[in-house]
């Protein structure tokens, strides 16, 4: 056997079995940008979650004499809105609804769309045609119009707007998942897995999922900001959140009238949406490069 032993190899540390996700986790920890984004997002999440225990002003309590105060007014660190309600309190409370309508539809669409795309891409044939042509039908409508149409049909309310946003995002994620899956399924290692006698479900779970999740994940996180803005649009039309419920999109819409009086305060809900969107976008970018362990 001496003829076939490898020579001149640097000895790698004889580490313990490290799983794929452990490696990815370690790589993302070293990425400063991703970690900063994660910190901002965690702060916004925790604040929204713990809002009632933070000793904030009542987000529903308005006052006609204290309307549209500027940022850094004593007692109102971020000013007040067009009905004299404390902006800091409303922004933090608003995170509760905004994050839910921003993230939940994307998570639901991610699960449904990835499953559909994986099945369509892996099995191919008429199943692929059936799934993908159905998806194409949804593409015929602009996503805003589709969300409004579905929400209108289902009736106003948070749950219904989450459902309608999910339906809007499923086709997009399905299409991305299908194209990535088609690319991976033709690789030799999938053939090799079939040659070892594994069934389609095992192959999809062990060999496909890890290789297709990355791009889909990045695409889906980009949809979170879209989701929050669409939800804001629905609220504006009276199909989503209803006043006086604090929600960033709705706040942005109602404060729009005050943009000449107090532009900085009027921009604050937008700043929050922007911070969350860019946070998710950069984090997903970092995730993608961390998941691509070849580099």
């Amino acid at each position: 056997m001496s003829a076939i032993t490898e020579i001149g190899l640097p000895a790698a540390p004889a580490g313990k079995a490290r799983g794929y996700w452990t490696t990815v986790g370690r790589r993302i920890m070293r990425d400063k940008v991703s970690m900063a984004c994660a910190a901002v997002l965690v702060a916004i999440f925790v604040a929204a979650l713990l809002a009632p225990w933070l000793g904030l002003a009542d987000p529903y309590q308005g006052s006609m004499i204290r309307r549209l105060r500027h940022i850094a007014t004593p007692g109102y660190p971020l000013g007040t809105d067009e009905l004299g309600r404390d902006m800091l309190s409303r922004l933090i409370y608003g995170g509760r609804l905004s994050l839910v309508v921003g993230i939940l539809p994307v998570i639901l669409a991610f699960v449904i769309g990835t499953s559909l795309g994986l099945v369509a891409g892996y099995i191919g044939g008429w199943i692929n045609t059936a799934i993908m042509r159905t998806v194409d039908v949804f593409y015929a409508f602009p996503s805003v119009l589709l969300a409004i149409a579905i929400s209108g049909a289902l009736g106003a309310g948070i749950t219904n707007s989450i459902v309608s946003l999910t339906i809007v995002f499923v086709p997009q994620i399905t299409r991305v998942a299908e194209s990535v899956t088609t690319g991976v399924r033709n690789m030799d290692f999938v053939e090799a897995a079939r040659a070892s006698g594994a069934g389609p479900l095992t192959i999809m779970r062990v060999h496909m999922l890890g290789n297709v999740l990355g791009p889909i994940f990045v695409y889906a996180t980009g949809l979170i900001s879209v989701s929050m803005i669409l939800a804001a649009g629905l609220s504006f039309l009276g199909l989503g959140t209803k006043p006086p419920e604090p929600e960033w999109g709705l706040m942005l819409n109602t404060l729009r009238t005050a943009i000449y009086v107090n532009p900085w305060v009027a921009a604050l809900p937008g700043v929050m949406i922007f911070a969350v969107s860019i946070g998710f976008n950069l984090l997903s970018d970092g995730m993608r490069s961390a998941m691509d362990i070849r580099n």
């Binding site: 079995a17 030799d188 090799a192 070892s196 006698g197 594994a198 362990i293 070849r294």
Partner: protein, 359 residues
Amino acid sequence: MNQTAAPVEMLRPVEDVGGVAQPLLQVTGLTKHFPVRGELFSARKTVRAVDDVSFSIAKGETVGIVGESGCGKSTTARLLMHLMKRDAGDIIYDGMGVGRALSLRELRRGMQMVFQDSYASLNPRLTIEQSIAFGPKVHGMADAAARTLARELLGKVGLRPEVFANRYPHEISGGQRQRVNIARALALSPRLVILDEAVSALDKSVEAQVLNLLVDLKREFGLTYLFISHDLNVVRYISDRVLVMYLGEVVELGPVDRVWDAPAHPYTRALLAAMPSSDPDHRTQTPPISGDPPNPIDPPKGCRFHTRCPFAEPLCANATPKLTALDTMGHQAACYMAIPGSGHSRAPTGKAVEGANAI
């Protein structure tokens, strides 16, 4: 690593039912045509990737398949592995028809394949140990036992398990990856291993190491190889018998020495003449054959080689020569020049060799 631990558990190989005389693999009339989408309203065309290919592989032997790219070598391999549905033909494994006496799942254990692209054939998300252990786990082996087996096999293919087991495919060299692929194939205790251009993408020195490894493993595990390559030197080195393919058909078949010493088909002769010689006194002066292989969508009528054959006669364009035995050692060729009394001006006179038709 040399502690005498508990014996490594291996999957039980598919039982040898036929005995020594029964070929391990018998292929008859294997055919695969790919439909090609033609222009609108034009007739539907097909690529005849593999057309009526028949051969057998005896237990313990190494059969080589050679031919230009696009001649159907890899399609044949995929058909044998049942990774692709065949249009016609029978594949008999050790006397058992697949899907009848032998389930597809069992066949997968009895027959494994090593792919050409060592990188694409390993999942980039799995460590080497996980990749090798996957197959045995699919066939019901416990995770711990499968991992132990994977490490054992890594040692067998010349990679120290403590160094390589937890690495990812992109962290090792091409030669090392191909060793991993071999270990992955061996993990299911196959009796037949199909090597589809398994060493073609490697450097010459690494190629030689892997070839020697294959020879060693064959002896140690009692394997049978189907070795597909376009490299004639490699095929000659490793094979007992060789099968020459041209445009989806077998044109010559026989013991490697017979085919090399007395090639009967002009295509085989051209292939052998095209081999670069290391002797400057024996330079190849004239190109052995000219032109590209014809489009397999529209293969020539009659003998498929007649468009490039220097000896083609009207007969060759009109009728298709069948594989015909040339001697009693299993040397066969599909060429009218080799078939006695075929009507070709260069055909040998006299009767066919007595009893030569036994494969």
